[in-house]
């Protein structure tokens, strides 16, 4: 259990750093912090108006007071007001979040399944021409920037071939079943692009893990038992090789969320990613900071879920019945 506690401590630390970064950046950046919190053209304001604004946002108080105020606000869910929308940042984020969850969730699942299966297959055939071909192709795709894949996908599949719509997540006038179909067809390209951009990490990890597992004595014994090659590959090879890949799943979600920023932007998909882009373009600082915090919380949440799920997959991490005569203890294999 101490392992889980340590992890939770780590996550609290991450959230604290992310929050503090949000507090510090407007105050460290060049210029008057008021400009960042107010968002509008601060230079057009008179000194009296600036002073009033400082008071409103509490910028005239001591740094310690401001910091305390910042955290009490944050814990109450107050992320400030979006400059562009004049609405609470929380509301804007809540509107965008589901789209990104759907997009990144589907893409992660797709990239995980395809990447690990392909990687395990390449390891099974390691050293062959087909392995070399697949591995080179994956490395090449992995070298492409996600936003570029997105732009090419729009150009080819939406504009030239006209297979999918290229813009947004919902049809403007859709209703009922047709609207649901629209939502799905508008998801195809962004999901495919994001999955393609994320497949490389899973592939390389699964391939390396599978290569290692195939050299294990238990794989040799599986053959010595007369098991079918397919069973040796799947039950003994893949099942075991997937553990380190799954360990990396939470980290990969972080990478895919990064990818979502640029991919959503190209597809004008109404998620958090394009929100970050819009906030950058109009320099909506409170919105940008709120989105950054939310993404960080998302990654921490994914990590926590993964931590809780590991023992289900790896029996060595479970609280177990120890050999008779010894005391009950937790067996920890990985540090």
């Amino acid at each position: 259990m101490s392992r889980t506690c340590g992890r939770i401590g780590q996550y609290v630390l991450v959230l604290w750093v992310a929050g503090t970064l949000n507090f510090a950046l407007p105050r460290l950046a060049p210029g008057d912090p008021v400009a960042y919190v107010y968002g509008g053209d601060a230079q057009a304001l008179s000194e009296r108006q600036l002073a009033a604004l400082r008071e409103t946002f509490g910028l005239d108080r001591s740094l310690a007071e401001q910091y305390a105020g910042f955290w009490t606000g944050l814990l109450r869910g107050d992320l400030g007001t979006s400059v562009q929308d004049s609405r609470p940042v929380v509301d804007v984020l809540a509107e965008r979040l589901p789209w990104t969850v759907a997009l990144v969730g589907t893409a992660t699942a797709l990239a995980f399944v395809l990447g690990s299966l392909l990687g395990a297959w390449a390891a099974w055939r390691r050293g062959s021409k087909r392995d070399a071909a697949v591995t080179s192709a994956v490395l090449a795709v992995d070298a492409m920037p996600g936003f570029w894949i997105a732009m090419v996908a729009v150009a080819v599949f939406a504009v030239q071939l006209g297979w999918f719509p290229s813009y947004g997540a919902v049809a403007l006038d859709g209703q009922g079943l047709g609207a649901a179909g629209e939502v799905v067809s508008r998801m195809v390209l962004p999901v495919a692009t994001l999955a393609l951009a994320g497949i490389g990490g899973f592939f390389l990890l699964a391939r390396a893990a599978m290569v290692g597992v195939l050299d294990e004595p238990f794989v040799r014994l599986a053959r010595a038992k007369g098991l079918r090659e397919s069973r040796v590959a799947v039950v003994h090879g893949l099942r075991t090789a997937l553990l380190p890949v799954f360990t990396n799943l939470a980290l990969a979600i972080g990478a895919l969320l990064s990818g979502a920023v640029v991919v959503e932007t190209v597809f004008a998909y109404p998620g958090l990613g394009s929100l970050i882009f819009e906030a950058v373009t109009v320099r909506d600082y409170p919105l940008l900071q709120g989105a950054f915090l939310l993404v960080t919380v998302g990654i921490v949440g994914a990590n926590l879920l993964a931590d809780l799920a590991y023992p289900l997959l790896d029996p060595r991490l479970r609280r177990v019945r120890a050999p008779r005569g010894t005391q009950l203890r937790q067996v920890v294999v990985r540090g």
Binding site: W124, A143, V159, G226, L227, R228, Q289
Partner: protein, 555 residues
């Protein structure tokens, strides 16, 4: 380095040299100044403008050529800063340990947990767009991974004897670090730097695409950003405005990736792939022409690893109900013979002469399907070190059951009954059927692999060092169990061991192997009392108990 690695490294280096050349000669190579209007806006490709022009009439080809400068500059400088910072922190943390290490590694973990792109965006927006911002934020996220990597290396380096000796003598850090630590970890820093450059270039492109690059300079990311803003991908313009910069980024990143991959492989040989075992486990060679009708017949068997002959013309038979001990020092080829008895040689080993017959069936030219039907069914293996031979994430019962089912179409209940029966046969509590291997003791695990070997009712059992890693009392138990099973089930048993005194208790006959050749074969009593060969005498003398060298004392 393998030929393939050399080719990949050559490809990476070639691409990088070409890019570097383009970047250095850009002002002369590019037909126009990429920051100046030289044509009509949105011009299609023509002789004057090979890649057309952008929305204000700047030449796109010139932008592409000049873009190499920005990508390489930002990539290399950011990666260099990250490398210096990361290796510094990693080396100091690993060397100092204690509080310094804890604090540094917590920080590293935090940086690695933050979302890379949103973090760089947030910091970048506040710092204002530009090359310096890009370098700063990219280095700010990339150092952490390196620090973690190098710390692990320094920690393990610190455990080495020569460093322990230096530290024990009270050597000061400013002596140890530059002279002993840095040279040892330096080869690791190279590939880390190259791989960081690759990530930095991709990040630079993303930042520039989001409008956080230096807008006054042409870079691949800003070109794509403009193409996006002007919706170039909605027209044919994507062919000359969108494709080339993206391909340039991908090529550069791939070149760094290939080079880094090969460098990393070279510094850590463990990463190198060994080739997969050949599809046919036993290569074709002369079939065994042997008329001896024993359960296991090994005749004139030769095995080589590449050019090295590890088994040289070994002939040995094991009849039903007989237990033959095959002894020899480590490296004498005895485990290779055990593997050959099931046509399961390690990758890289090939049968170069002779062969093996099991129950009258020649393994040399058997099809994979025929081999599968034999293995576990007529000839079974008891592997060495049951701990690693059992799959750690599957229960004992599951691994037993799949062995039972591999050769007989039986129902669920029958499989379970058989698994429990097998556990009983090797003296294990049937309650253990749902346990995972790590929940069992070493002796129990050994019994489980013996039960698995019995699952298919084989005629021949090959035990490869069945008692290694067990304590003396458990060793005796396991050997007695094997001996009892041999008698009860009439098995032909070949037991491989380096421990002659242990095996002599149960073996009917003993074969002594030295450097791939059989030097003595005979009845156990004969071998242990009148052993003539020095190798046999040496093996006898290695007895872990008080005893005069055999040959001097006649019992």
């Amino acid at each position: 380095m393998t030929r393939r690695s050399r080719r990949l490294a050559g490809l990476g280096l070639g691409l990088l040299s070409a890019l570097l050349l383009v970047a250095l000669t850009a002002p002369w190579l590019a037909p126009y100044d990429p920051t100046v209007r030289v044509g009509v806006p949105f011009a299609r490709p023509s002789a004057a403008h090979l890649l057309g022009t952008d929305d204000v009439g700047k030449d796109l080809l010139s932008g592409l050529i000049h873009g190499a400068r920005v990508s390489l500059l930002v990539g290399v400088v950011a990666a260099l800063s990250a490398t210096v910072l990361g290796s510094g922190v990693g080396i100091v943390a690993g060397y100092a340990r204690g509080v310094v290490d804890t604090v540094a590694m917590r920080l590293v973990d935090v940086v690695l947990s933050l979302p890379v792109l949103p973090l760089t965006i947030v910091v970048g927006v506040f710092a204002g767009p530009g090359l310096r911002t890009q370098i700063f934020v990219i280095a700010g996220v990339l150092w952490a991974g390196m620090a973690r990597e190098l710390r692990a290396q320094v920690l393990s380096l610190r455990e080495r004897d020569h460093l322990q000796a230096l530290l024990a003598m009270g050597a000061r850090p400013w002596h140890v670090l530059p002279r002993h630590v840095l040279p040892a970890v330096a080869p690791l820093i190279g590939p880390q730097f190259v791989l960081a450059t690759k990530t930095a270039i991709l990040l630079e492109a993303s930042l520039a695409f989001l409008g956080l690059g230096d807008l006054t300079r042409a870079s691949w990311g800003t070109m794509l950003s403009l193409a996006h803003a002007r919706s170039a991908f909605l027209t044919d313009a994507w062919l000359w405005w969108v494709l080339p910069p993206g391909l340039a980024i991908a090529t550069t990143v791939l070149a760094f990736g290939l080079l880094g991959h090969v460098l990393e492989e070279r510094t850590r040989p463990g990463l190198r792939d060994r080739p997969a075992a050949p599809r046919r486990d036993v290569p074709v060679s002369a079939p065994v022409v042997d008329t001896v009708d024993a359960a296991l017949v090994i005749s004139q068997l030769s095995v080589r690893y590449g050019d090295v002959l590890v088994v040289d013309g070994v002939s040995l038979t094991v009849a039903a109900g007989e237990l033959v001990g095959l002894v020899g020092e480590s490296g004498s080829g005895k485990s290779t013979i055990a593997g050959a008895a099931l046509a399961l040689l390690p990758a890289g080993a090939t049968v170069s002469g002779g062969g093996v017959r099991v129950c009258g069936q020649d393994l040399t030219n058997a099809s994979p399907a025929a081999l599968r039907a034999l293995r576990g069914n007529r000839v079974a293996l008891i592997p060495q070190e049951a701990n690693s031979a059992l799959n750690p994430v599957l229960t004992v019962g599951f691994q037993l059951a799949e062995t039972v089912r591999a050769h007989r179409p039986v129902g669920r209940a029958a499989v379970r009954a058989r698994a429990l029966e097998l556990l009983g046969q090797v003296g294990l509590d049937p309650d253990r059927v749902g346990d995972y291997p790590h929940q069992l003791s070493g002796g129990m695990r050994q019994r489980v692999v013996i039960a698995m070997a019995l699952a298919g009712d084989p005629e021949v059992l090959v035990a490869d060092e069945p008692t290694s890693g067990l304590d003396v009392l458990v060793q005796a138990d396991v050997l007695d169990l094997l001996d009892g099973l041999r008698t009860r089930l009439g098995l032909a048993m070949l037991v491989v061991s380096h421990d002659l005194p242990v095996i002599e208790r149960v073996a009917d006959r003993i074969a002594v192997l030295q450097a791939g050749r059989l030097v003595e074969v005979g009845d156990t009593a004969t071998i242990t009392t009148v052993a003539a060969h020095p190798c046999t005498q040496a093996l006898l003398a290695s007895a872990p108990r008080l005893r005069l060298p055999a040959g001097q004392v006649r019992r």
